[in-house]
């Protein structure tokens, strides 16, 4: 099975992780139009590429960021949020 490296617990089987999705920047709710907000809520970048994603090591509840190529599935690096 594929291996993902949790920044705290080290390399673990991917079945130990929960995938949340691509990191997104929330627009300022007060400043954006309804359409812009709906775009933030629903739309995705969709196309393959190297993405920053939220992942959680489920047994230890460790949330972190993984930089992953969503075409080749190569995980370039993982790190705790804010600790690039």
């Amino acid at each position: 099975m594929k291996i993902m490296t949790c920044p705290i617990n080290g390399p673990r089987l991917i079945s130990e992780f929960t995938y949340w999705g691509e990191c997104q920047t929330m627009p300022e709710p007060a400043d954006c139009t309804d359409a812009q907000w709906a775009d933030y809520v629903f739309n995705k970048s969709g196309a393959p590429g190297i993405k920053h994603e939220w992942w959680c090591h489920t047994p230890s509840n460790t949330w972190f960021i993984a930089v992953r190529d969503t075409m080749s599935d190569v995980i370039e690096k993982t790190f705790l949020y804010g600790q690039q």
């Binding site: 291996i3 629903f42 959680c56 949330w63």
Partner: protein
């Protein structure tokens, strides 16, 4: 009838037999015997039984072709097992075998007339006919009956096998010469090595392609001994690497179970598939590959035929002829398809033995007797420049066997799966690895290396590099593998014939012309050709046919093999039993600490996600519905006790705890007084309601809150993520499993609790919706006065280790007050009477707060909460549906009846003017109110109190309900608040 062992040879060096153990068995109703170590096909062949199966489409007699599990000519069935591959399945005593898919037995299969219909059944024939609408069902039945191989025993219980895990530095797939060399040199560099081989013994082709070369066999023995003596190497035979997965995760299958192995590097030394030559009637029993003949002779001590014609295009072919001669086979002729074969020692030896060798000749067609079951001879002919045979210059040669040795295709399946890109080598006329992914290595025949000395060097090279990849010392000198001096594969081992029956795919009965016809029809790329002809889609998955089909397509298109490309190789290399994939299964259940007490009380269990909860408590002589209603009435009239320990239980603590809760829930909590609770609703970013619970403020910076049972893990995880991002000054803890919880509710609840605690339970000291940390029966507890079931009640949470004690204390204390436990169903009834929603039942994946009568809880003027901005956008749009309460009069229905024909169920629709205008989300007969009550989503126009709601029952009958205000029971909330008890 052939006598037993008529083809058995005397003891062969290196044979796999244990002649001391005789194994009797039956095939097609007749008795045979073989030896331990025989495969089923070998034992039958030894006994002179050569019709071993019938082909899938034309039901032609079939015998041994590759004997390597690269074809399924011999597919058998026993009462115990289906689809047994006779060529490689070890013989066991007492087996009762029949060939699959025959009508009346393998010798006289009545379906053999299908062969006569071959003219009417061109490639893709089933697409071109049988689809007259009226007749298709009939034709489909006929076709479905013809299809399929073995018969599944539907009554067989599940077989549970264990699963194993294994680890190593270097995994070597294939224990032939190159694989063993790779293992040895990786181990000598310090790597832990596992070698797997699907055969019963290691050695690969060097163990059977002998040609009487005793020295080569001895060298193999030495290599095998060296490997055995190396402590860092484990050799697993009878073990197949069936699939390669991410990060060098390889599935290994043996007879018992599956092993999942993690390697740091993988050396693929899997060898190659020996390809059948294509000529008319090349499938008659007795026509086999050189490798099959040599396996029969050298592993199983079976003479493959009495008189052979050999069709060769490489030196391996002549080695096979030498093996055959040694085994007493008379070789009537050797047709060498090469016009100018290079010199080789084996060829010279064959000539010296007096065998007639014809250069530039091929077999034009084979001839059968005995209804196609027996080879009687072949017509050999010289080849023309374009590869066709000059039939007029041909001659007939009598024989009962053909040895074909015309070429190979790499067994590169696992290389493809690992992401290797293959290139084409003109030198050896096969695909070879061009770019290997990191950590993957190839050696031996799969790498295009055929010469024995070169194979050994190639293995050494691969092993050293694999060990280096794992971090062991880089080798000083990696051996240089010399270029191939000869080509082991003929580029066109195919002889056309106007009458066809020259088979390419033996699984699917595909002839040469099928490929030309498919291309003519426009299926002329490799993928379309495969799908249209079904080449390679049978159980052999193209092992003996893909390369040949590719060559045909290349010729048709005027392209090179690399330009044509290959179809994708997918797991599994050989079919894998579902038992091995399933393993023993693992279905965990979560129980609360009170489980045994519930069971003693007669609990009937229901699943709530992974949890088991009491649905109700069974009472002798009472129906399920009666039990549920009586449990509910007991709560209304006296006092009931329910286990709510499956709820999610979280805490948030810190200076920004209140602010955090305000951001994740739709209501306000900053103004929640210490010691009070408040209902909580959570939405997602699109404004949809996803969870609810109760928030209790234990201190200024300390909140304790609940979630639904099924939402617990997800909510906790998401709140953790949010705070990881927001980094607010607070921490979140998940106590879901650490705390047990009960709800004791009813007019007598306070009295019951009062006997167990010294805390002041007076309405002023402990008001409705308050939370207090008190001792109950000596157990430190958090008690909350909540309103879910609509009676005076306390939800009490304690550390889980005290859960059972708490339950028992309450039951004992409550006995005097008529306490009864109640389950999930009674609770659902009680909460319905109070008009309380259940997330996921009275809401769905689109429900926003205002639709579920939760507008009051939505504080859109807060600075921020998840879902707020979307709800602001939604608020501008018309509301699509509203949740309302309704009552339904069913004359004559009362508590004595479990149900009534006019009683609707959840999900029954509201139909107004022929349109769907809503649906019931909850409905039940209320014993407290004596009528049917429920909640339904309706279009906003139907939501006014008093509106008639027509429901359509399953039968189509309409019944009318009317909209009423919620709650149904105790609208003033008097039962829950100060004035009572």
């Amino acid at each position: 009838m052939a006598s037993n062992n008529s083809m058995r040879l005397p003891l062969q060096p290196g044979e796999w037999l244990d002649r001391g153990t005789v194994l009797p068995f039956r095939f097609e109703g007749r008795s045979y015997s073989g030896f331990a170590g025989d495969s089923i096909s070998a034992a039958l062949w030894a006994a002179g039984q050569h019709t071993l199966g019938r082909s899938f489409k034309y039901h032609r007699p079939r015998g041994i072709l590759t004997l390597a599990n690269h074809d399924i000519n011999v597919m058998l069935q026993t009462p115990q097992a289906m689809n047994i591959r006779g060529d490689v399945q070890a013989l066991c005593a007492g087996m009762e075998l029949v060939a699959v898919n025959t009508a009346g037995g393998v010798e006289n299969d009545r379906n053999r007339y299908m062969g006569l219909l071959a003219r009417f059944l061109p490639v893709g024939f089933y697409y071109k006919a049988f689809h007259t609408k009226a007749l298709f069902p009939l034709w489909e039945r006929v076709i479905r009956n013809f299809s399929g191989l073995g018969q599944l025993d539907l009554a067989k219980p599940a077989l549970h096998t264990p699963k194993r895990y294994d680890f190593c530095d270097v995994l070597v797939i294939g224990a032939g010469v190159s694989g063993l060399q790779a293992a040895l040199h990786a181990a000598r560099a310090g790597a832990q090595v596992v070698v797997v081989d699907e055969n019963a013994r290691s050695g690969g082709s060097a163990s059977y392609q002998l040609g009487g070369n005793a020295a080569a066999l001895e060298a193999l023995r030495e290599l095998q001994n060296a490997v055995a003596a190396e402590p860092l190497i484990r050799v697993l035979t009878d073990t197949t690497a069936v699939g390669y997965y991410a990060d060098h995760w390889v599935a290994l299958i043996d007879a018992q179970c599956m092993t999942k192995l993690r390697a740091k590097a993988v050396v693929v030394a899997s060898g190659s598939f020996e390809l059948p030559a294509v000529f008319r009637h090349n499938d008659i029993p007795g026509i086999m590959t050189g490798g099959a003949a040599q396996r029969l002779i050298n592993r199983y001590a079976v003479r493959p035929m009495h008189t052979a014609v050999a069709l060769v295009a490489n030196s391996e072919g002549f080695t096979a002829v030498l093996d055959a001669l040694r085994a007493g086979v008379k070789v009537a002729a050797v047709a060498d398809m090469r016009m100018q074969a290079p010199a080789c020692a084996a060829r010279d030896e064959v000539r010296a033995a007096g065998v007639r060798v014809l250069d530039g000749w091929a077999i034009y067609e084979a001839h059968a007797g005995d209804s196609g079951r027996r080879l009687t001879g072949v017509t050999i002919a010289p080849l023309l420049a374009n590869g066709d045979a000059n039939a007029r210059a041909g001659e007939q040669v009598a024989c009962d066997g053909v040895i074909m040795s015309v070429g190979y295709a790499p067994a590169a399946n696992l290389l493809y799966q690992a992401g290797t890109s293959m290139g084409w080598s003109d030198t050896v006329q096969q695909f070879v690895p061009a770019t290997l992914p990191a950590g993957i290595f190839a050696c031996g025949r799969v790498n295009g290396v055929y010469d024995s000395a070169a194979k050994a060097l190639d293995g050494q090279r691969a092993g050293m590099l694999a060990a280096a990849h794992c971090g062991f010392a880089s080798p000083q000198l990696v051996p240089h593998v010399p270029e191939a001096l000869r080509c082991p594969s003929h580029p066109w081992p195919i002889v056309a014939h106007p009458q066809g029956k020259n088979f390419v795919d033996f699984d699917e009965d595909l002839q040469l012309k099928d490929f030309y016809n498919a291309a003519q029809e426009g299926y002329d790329n490799i993928e379309l050709m495969k799908r249209y002809t079904t080449n390679g889609m049978g159980p052999s998955q193209g092992k003996h046919s893909n390369m040949t089909a590719l060559r045909v397509l290349a010729r048709i298109l005027g392209k090179t093999p690399i330009e044509v490309g290959t179809t994708t190789a997918r797991p599994f290399y050989h079919p894998v039993p579902i038992s091995h994939l399933a393993g023993r299964g693992f279905t965990p259940e979560r129980h609360t600490p009170m489980r045994a007490l519930h069971a003693q009380a007669g609990a009937v269990w229901m699943a709530a996600g992974m949890w088991q909860r009491p649905e109700y408590y069974a009472v002798a002589g009472r129906s399920r519905m009666q039990c549920i209603r009586e449990e509910a009435m007991n709560v209304r009239e006296k006092v009931g006790l329910i286990d709510v320990g499956t709820l999610g239980k979280l805490e948030v603590i810190g200076p920004q705890a209140a602010e955090f809760l305000e951001r994740v829930y739709i209501s306000r909590y900053a103004n929640l007084a210490v010691g009070m609770t408040r209902y909580a609703v959570m939405c997602d970013e699109s404004g949809v309601v996803i969870d609810d619970g109760v928030v209790a403020r234990l201190a200024d910076q300390h909140f304790y809150f609940t979630t639904t049972t099924s939402g617990a893990a997800t909510v906790y995880r998401e709140l953790s993520r949010l705070n990881t991002m927001w980094r607010m000054d607070c921490g979140i803890v998940n106590h879901t499993g650490a705390f047990a919880g009960v709800n004791v509710a009813g007019p007598q609840a306070r009295k019951v609790l009062a006997t167990l605690t010294s805390a002041d339970l007076d309405g002023a000291a402990f008001p409705y919706l308050g939370v207090r940390e008190i001792d109950v029966a000596g157990i430190p507890a958090r008690a909350m006065r909540v309103g879910f079931v609509g009676e005076w009640g306390y939800e009490i949470h304690v550390p889980a280790e005290h859960g059972a004690a708490l339950w028992q204390a309450l039951m004992q204390a409550g006995a005097a007050f008529g306490i009864r436990p109640f389950g999930v169903e009674a609770q659902r009834l009680l909460r319905l009477e109070k008009g309380h929603i259940i997330i996921g039942q009275d809401t769905d994946g689109l429900t926003v707060p205002r639709e579920a009568a939760l507008g009051w809880a939505t504080k859109l003027d807060k600075p921020f909460f998840i879902g707020q901005r979307s709800l602001q956008a939604i608020a501008k749009r018309p509301q699509k549906q509203t949740l309302v309460g309704f009552t339904l009069d069913i004359p004559g229905m009362d508590t004595s009846q479990d149900s009534h024909p006019n009683m609707p169920s959840e999900s029954h629709l509201v139909i107004v003017d022929g349109e769907i205008s809503g649906r019931i989300t909850s409905v039940a007969f209320s014993p407290a109110l004596g009528q049917v009550i429920g909640m339904a989503f309706v279009t906003p126009g139907l939501s006014a109190v008093g509106t008639r709601l027509p429901f359509r029952l399953t039968s189509g009958k309409m019944v009318d309900a009317q909209v009423v205000a919620l709650p149904f029971y105790d609208a003033a909330g008097a039962c829950q608040k100060e004035a009572s008890a």
